[in-house]
């Protein structure tokens, strides 16, 4: 399946990649494939405080609408503005250009509690 091991995962299919104190969050290729054609992504505004384990937005596809979760707490410092017009980027490049938000995290060690690539891969039966 090719789950990148430079980041951590939630059971609900969000990936978290830490660079200093900035954590980029997206959804996995597996989740994007399951959702099929993504039509709309609802994301928080820059400056919004988010809490680990709480919904941070919504993602819609032709099939369904799902909540997006964050595995970390912090403040949103950037949202992927390209998704407004091109939500299909999540389908075509879930681990890259299809990222959702960047969060300045309060406590980087929160990531250690998330699943490793190996654990996530096992969950999705990779």
């Amino acid at each position: 399946m090719g789950v990148p091991n430079d980041r951590r995962y939630l059971k609900s299919h969000e990936w978290h990649k830490l660079d200093g104190k900035i954590c980029t969050i997206g959804i996995t290729k597996f989740a994007a494939d399951e959702l099929t054609d993504i039509t709309y992504v609802s994301l928080p505004k820059v400056g919004k405080e988010i809490t680990a384990g709480q919904p941070l937005g919504e993602i819609e596809s032709v099939k369904a609408t799902s909540d997006l979760y964050s595995g970390v707490s912090g403040v949103v410092v950037e949202v992927n503005g390209r998704l407004g017009d091109s939500p299909e980027l999540v389908n075509s490049d879930a681990f890259g250009d299809g990222w959702l938000v960047k969060v300045q995290v309060n406590d980087p060690s929160q990531l250690d509690r998330l699943m490793t690539a190996e654990q996530y891969d096992a969950q999705i039966g990779g």
Partner: protein, 362 residues
Amino acid sequence: MLRTPLYETHKRLGARLIDFGGWEMPVMYRGINEEHVYTRTASSIFDVSHMGRLVFTGSDSEALLQHVCTRNVGKLKVGRSGYSHVCNERGGILDDVIVSRYEDRWLMVCNAGNREKIVSHLQRHLEGRKVTLDDTTQKSVMLAIQGPATMELFAQHMPIKVGEVARYGFVTGSYLGQKYSIFRSGYTGEDGLEVVLSAATGVLVWDFLTQDGSGDRVTIRPAGLGARDTLRLEAGMPLYGHELMEEVDPLSAGCGWCVDLEKEFVGASALRQIAAEGPRRKLIGLILEGRRIARQGARVLADGAEVGVVTSGTLSPTLEKSIAMAYLDASYCEAGRSITVEVRDQQIPAVVTALPFYKRSA
């Protein structure tokens, strides 16, 4: 779960399979959006073998069908098909069906999820009549081939001439020693064919029709039930379980054109009363601002009150707009009216529009 004879074909093609009306069916092969666009611009093949295929023989077949169908099927000529509803005594819709008149028999194609209900409804009304009802669903394959390139590609791949068949007409014959029926009909808003064949021949014909062309040649590609749903929605066609259900009558559903109130049938007197009073709610189209999809059950609001409910919605690949079908109180149904749809916790502005959303150019 039931499987069609093409189950192994779908697996080989990498289809994603889902439970649909008790059948394990392909929802998509390459992507719903891509399959949708390909059907609008070229030609797609759908396995619709899950649809019920009920065959009636015997001298009272026509009388039975007249008794259960809203349509005056007696007016159908041999070699012609017609869309109809089947209602209960209250005028509620039990199913929407296509009835076809053969020389020596009749065929009713019904929805997969309603097949058992319809068979038992028919059997109740069959008593005392000289009719034999044969449910042939699991003995045959039904393929829908749809899109502007369909007629040309079908002629290239199959030694069967269908170009002369008019819309809602059908032809019969034999191929590889097996009988077939080919109908000029479909559920996508495009020109196309629906083919009923024996199980073994159906699998072969699927392979013939989808074989790769050389170079840039256009081919018929598989499409799943996901695209079939978004295609029918753009074409303003109702789907049982969404727009059509026992709590709704054909007149409110905008299907009065397939109801003949001059004849007697199950539900006729209830429908005459609804026709006299005018339906309280009507099925209309909505175009929403933005890209969010209003799904079945979303509330429609106007003047601070709930005035309707969404039955189906999608992001239209052709219009690139969020579209929905909804039942609205009759006084809110005029086209062009501004209205609000509640999608999750958001109030989204929308405009009432006449159906269909999409009509192919002639």
